[in-house]
Amino acid sequence: MIDIGWPFPTYIDYFGQKTAERLFQIVIILFSIIGFIAGYLMQQFSMTIYTLLFGVFVSALLTLPPWPMYRNNPIEWQKSSNLSKEIENNLTTKSSNKIFC
């Protein structure tokens, strides 16, 4: 995957991803229906394509940049515990188990 070094984070959270996907699907389908009807009335299929492309442009503006509305529900990570101590504890319990077996 190409990695573009953006000067700002482009990450959006899980809830934002769901919202963004739903949003661009609704926008594009809406514009395609309008375009289909307009193209049929004008008997000009290029009209349909241009309407759809306009819808794609609008939904790109709405969903591609990491707008703040997609970053309202950040993931709540568990508090980091003392990692090295935990590993030590695990090791000791495992080894003690082996002895008892």
């Binding site: 289909f36 004008m42 008997q43 394509i49 759809l52 794609v56």
Partner: protein, 185 residues
């Protein structure tokens, strides 16, 4: 969807899918279209010459020479699934060796947006009307027009036009230069 590029990718893929659905919709909306139209074809001064066909076997073959009058309005054919219209005029006749001979005498490409009102008066045929033998004299020839519909999406249709015309070539070869249509008209 988490990064800019994956969002761009999802958006693009969805757009392509919607485009495919729209194209299928165009195909379905014109599936039952018949694209029939009536045309008027006229023939002027048909003569037969006996000449050497250098493009084929270098033997002396019959060459039909005639002038065409074409009158048609095909603007109605251009619905939203027609990209290009290809018209061609066929001459059909019967000879003792072949039960059906077809020669294309004239054709025309009409792109979308171009004027499809065609009125041509006394034009020479675009292609030579060579017979592959010597059977054009006093032969009954039927001229008919047909067109191909080149669609945006769907089938390549072949539609014969309503209206054809028949004529009979004279039973004499024309040899003199004065009788040829180019110098007389």
């Amino acid at each position: 969807m988490h990064s800019f590029l994956s969002r761009l990718n999802t958006l693009f893929a969805f757009t392509i899918s919607v485009l495919a659905v729209l194209t299928i919709g165009v195909f379905i909306s014109t599936y039952f279209e018949k694209y029939h139209e009536t045309v008027s074809i006229g023939v002027n001064k048909p003569i037969v010459k006996h000449m050497t066909d250098y493009s084929a076997n270098r033997k002396k073959n019959d060459l039909g020479v005639l002038q065409l009058n074409l009158d048609m309005n095909l603007n109605q054919l251009f619905d939203w699934n027609v990209k290009v219209l290809f018209l061609y005029l066929i001459a059909e006749y019967v000879t003792p060796t072949n039960s059906l001979n077809q020669v294309v005498l004239w054709d025309k490409i009409i792109r979308r947006g171009e004027n499809a009102r065609i009125y041509l008066h006394d034009i020479a045929t675009k292609y030579y009307f060579w017979d592959d033998g010597e059977n054009l004299r006093s032969n009954n020839v039927t001229l008919s027009l047909a067109w191909n519909i080149i669609p945006n999406a769907g089938r390549l249709l072949h539609v014969p036009a309503n209206g054809s015309t028949s004529f009979i070539f004279s039973d004499q070869y024309t040899t003199s230069r004065a009788a040829s249509p180019k110098s007389s008209s």
